[in-house]
């Protein structure tokens, strides 16, 4: 009989899970470790690195833009570096440290994520979606909200952080005219729906993390999220080509954000849960009221 032993074996894991869910700092420890290994970018062509069809270099030989007809990635201009440094010291250094390495002044190493070597798109994603600067530092996972900095400011910060250790991906611009929404639907169902639901509404995940709703995200941020894998989201680098990422982005920004509801109100896209609610409360409830009218009450 294996019930007892398998349960006992699981107890330390349950305790560990409980500990993890209670201490947000430990989460960041995990990410810091992963980042310190400097994830090598993918070797696949046309997958978010300068190994792409189009490459544009400046006079010093630095890559300033790369990509293909589906997505082009642009490096933030180095002229923004000083502005970015100033903004970083003002808004970010109190947690991420003056070296952007996750060691604040008076703090311990690993308390906050190390931002060095993550690529400009990571930085702009977090700031443009309003998740950083953190409004609630104790929260397990930051929520999308009104950004505190303008897009230019975000790009400037990204420029400076990237200058510390240049990496990829750069800031993307998807060209959705060339994308195929039907292929995007199939890719979304295979790769994204497991977390974000097929309707794109997001849902609760382990230990108080969650997958956010996709109803309000602009196209270029979809690409940034897919390529950089923010927080617990997996990184999609060499497993999806730029064409596939553009397909998914087109699907998200058209069908998910503007769903086709010919049958009436979409009931929040919650599927059978909402349908049962409406069917029983509204449909059956109304009919029972009608019975009450037709029949006697004695």
């Amino acid at each position: 009989m294996n019930v007892t032993t398998s349960f006992l074996r699981r107890v330390p894991l349950i305790v560990a899970a409980g500990f993890l869910s209670a201490a947000p700092i430990l989460l960041f420890v995990g990410s810091a470790n992963a980042n310190n290994l400097n994830p090598p970018p993918t070797t696949r062509k046309n997958a978010g690195t300068p190994n792409s069809t189009i490459v544009v270099k400046d006079k010093n030989g630095n890559v300033i833009e790369y990509g293909n007809k589906y997505i082009t990635y642009k490096a933030p201009s180095s002229s923004l570096n000083s502005l970015g440094k100033a903004l970083f010291m003002e808004n970010c250094a109190s947690c991420h440290g003056s070296g952007a390495n996750g060691v604040p002044a008076n703090g311990t190493s690993g308390a906050y994520p190390n931002l060095v070597g993550l690529g400009p798109a990571t930085i702009t994603f977090w700031i443009d979606s309003g998740r950083m600067p953190a409004k609630d530092v104790a929260a397990i996972q930051a929520r999308r909200g009104q950004p505190a900095l303008t897009p230019t400011q975000a790009t400037a910060i990204a420029a400076w952080v990237n200058s510390l250790s240049p990496s990829y991906p750069d800031i993307p611009t998807p060209h959705l005219k060339n994308a195929n929404v039907a292929d995007g639907a199939a890719l979304f169902a295979l790769n994204c729906a497991a977390c974000h639901t097929i309707e794109g509404d997001g849902d609760a995940l382990a230990s108080s993390t969650f997958s956010p709703s996709l109803r309000n995200i602009p196209a270029f941020q979809v690409v940034e999220a897919i390529r950089t894998g923010p927080a617990n989201m997996p990184r999609f680098t060499g497993n999806l080509s730029d064409q596939q990422v553009a397909d998914i982005t087109k699907y998200v920004t058209t069908e998910i954000q503007h769903p086709n509801n010919p049958g009436g109100f979409g009931l929040g896209g919650l599927g059978p849960v909402a349908e049962g609610f409406v069917g029983l409360l509204l449909g059956l409830g109304l009919l029972i009221l009608v019975c009450y009218w037709i029949g006697d009450r004695s």
Partner: protein
């Protein structure tokens, strides 16, 4: 004429025409009649509008609204007619006991027991033979009903299409190369050739995760299974077979979206929470000279949910 209109006398009693039971329940039958007439008119108009909407191929909601509104109006009118304008009653009828008289019941029982009994008592052997034969027939009649439905659950439940040397390909058929994924990336893979088949997708589906840059050991005995940090687990949840597609890279958890079982990817997908009883089987990998990710062998145990014939396997702790 008046003779014809008079009823021929009958034995049962009747009610007079002005008996209160026969009067409408409503105090203002004329008003109610006009209201009901209005509902019928509205119903007719709406139902006709349904026809018109259909004719011009209008949007589905107009079809539903007109049809629904029309039927509803008819229904309300008809119910109101019955409730407010028809004889209000209340009327009564007697319940006759369903049971028949004792004499009838005895006769019924006698017919079955004595008539049947006397026949069978005389020919016990015949009855026995027939009974036995029909019993056998009942059993064999089940054979085509059940066995013809499908094959026996043999090998296909125990083995997948992964073999020694199978290339790991994604759903488009592209081979996965060691340089493809960065840390924290996942991809759903199949053995090459099986990615388009139903069976391939159902049974062979495997989730490939890059956990680190160095060889990764999930458990003792699996030192070679995670080359360059690539780890592969069966995507079929051991609870009820849903694809475990949800990966949280910081928590290092694979979460099943169906009933929220959670598996820790760093220690051999041991279940950490939720109803799944067993870890996800791990596929042993190796990297060939061209950098392609390939399988060393099939899974060391049946993938997916538990079933009666599934025995404990050697080589893993569960």
């Amino acid at each position: 004429m008046s003779d014809i209109e008079h009823r021929t006398p009958v034995a049962l009693s009747g009610l007079s025409e002005d008996d209160p039971h026969l009067q409408p329940a409503s105090k203002n039958p004329q008003t109610v009649e006009r209201v009901i007439a209005l509902t019928f008119v509205i119903g007719t108009l709406l139902v006709a509008a349904f026809g018109a909407c259909y004719w011009i191929n209008a949007k589905p909601w107009t079809l539903g609204a007109t049809l629904g509104g029309g039927l509803f109006a008819f229904g309300v009118g008809l119910v109101a007619w019955g409730k407010y304008l028809m004889p209000r009653g209340p009327f009564v009828e007697e319940r006759h006991t369903l049971a028949n008289s004792d004499a009838d019941r005895d006769a019924f029982a006698a017919a079955i027991v004595e008539r049947g009994g006397s026949v069978v008592k005389r020919r016990k052997m015949l009855a026995g033979l027939l009974g036995g034969g029909l019993g056998i027939f009942g059993i064999v009649a089940l054979f085509p009903a059940l066995r013809s439905l499908g094959p026996l659950p043999k090998g296909t439940l125990f083995h997948t299409d992964w073999k020694k040397g199978s290339y790991a390909v994604d759903q488009t058929g592209r081979r996965i190369n060691v340089g493809d994924l960065s840390i924290g990336s996942i991809v759903t893979v199949f053995p090459e050739g099986a990615q388009d088949t139903d069976r391939g997708q159902a049974v062979d589906q495997t989730i490939l995760i890059r956990i680190s840059n160095q060889n990764f050991t999930t458990q003792k005995g699996r030192e070679t299974w995670g080359p360059m940090g690539y780890v592969a687990y069966s995507k079929l949840c051991t609870h009820l077979g849903c694809p475990v597609g949800l990966y949280e890279q910081q928590l290092q958890l694979l979460v099943c979206p169906c009933h929220q079982s959670m598996f820790n990817v760093t220690n051999g997908a041991l279940p950490q929470f939720g109803p799944a009883p067993r870890p996800l089987p791990q596929l042993p990998l190796y990297i060939d000279s061209n950098g392609n990710i390939r399988a060393q062998a099939d899974y060391d145990q049946p993938v997916g949910p538990g079933f009666w014939e599934r025995h404990r396997t050697t080589g893993s702790q569960l």
